[in-house]
Point group: C2
Chain length 131, copies 2
DNA sequence: CCATTGTTGCAAATAATTCTCAACTGCATT
DNA sequence: AATGCAGTTGAGAATTATTTGCAACAATGG
């Protein structure tokens, strides 16, 4: 991942290397604060401002994704996994990932009809188990 | 709409009546600040805090919908209109409504395949004008 | 018309994120 | 290995969106 950054012309600093590592090790979807806490454990000198700045840089470079769930703080994950959307089970809160080529295509068509190119999208299905 | 509120046990105050009116007249998707500005024009005494409080009350009563688009402040619209999804212009922040029967159908199919019935969903396209 | 209870305005509090600026550090070059 | 400089950092102040505490006020039932 570090190489990908270097190639994108991003200067590799101690704190950036640390954050990349923390993100790579995360199997959840931490927010900026959680990342700061984790990085801080390894290097108490890393500041929250730098976490925010670095997250923007990494997002810009395309190595992480930023997810904005309702009102809540933004959460991040490495973008090495394939794109997917989410179905949320309203009773259990479980999150099921899915992907539909057809929907992706339709979205692009709709945007094109309106004169737009999609940069990214958000699709969440809130559902209940069939009776 | 006022009756719907009364039925929901919501006390009708001068400022609530005004905000309901402003919302009913809005054909865009204003945020709390914009609503405050518009209400303020009619009654300079209405405060921003009350706008926020009233919006929560109206949402609770089910007469308006709150949309939390990425990072940006929440935006509102009356919920008396037929269902639609949103395309957000990343440059101007403009919100364009659209509806696709095909996507609706596909969503239902996907949910069904996973053993679910959709209760509601959220689809947002973040896009940029075609060059 | 009065009492009760909910509502408002104001200002201060919170929460998430960005910015300012002086000190510091990658890294290309010598 | 030393040097220059543009990019980066830390600390805290600033900003933006929203919520809250509290005393004054007003809507509805009786």
């Amino acid at each position: 991942m570090e190489n990908a950054l270097r190639d994108a012309g991003v200067r590799i600093t101690r704190q950036r290397r640390l954050l990349v590592q923390v993100l790579a090790e995360a199997d959840d979807h931490p927010d900026a604060n959680a990342l700061h806490r984790r990085a801080h454990a390894n290097d108490p000198k890393v500041s929250l401002a730098t976490v925010y700045r670095t997250l923007s840089v990494l997002e810009e470079a395309g190595v992480i994704d930023r997810h904005a769930f309702e009102g809540k703080p933004a959460r991040f994950e490495t973008s090495d996994r394939p794109h997917h959307d989410h179905l949320i089970d309203l009773e259990t809160g479980a999150v099921i990932e899915f992907r539909s080529e057809k929907i992706e295509r339709l979205q692009a068509e709709i945007a094109a009809e309106l004169g737009y190119d999609i940069v990214h999208h958000r699709l969440e299905l809130y559902a209940r188990k069939q009776g």
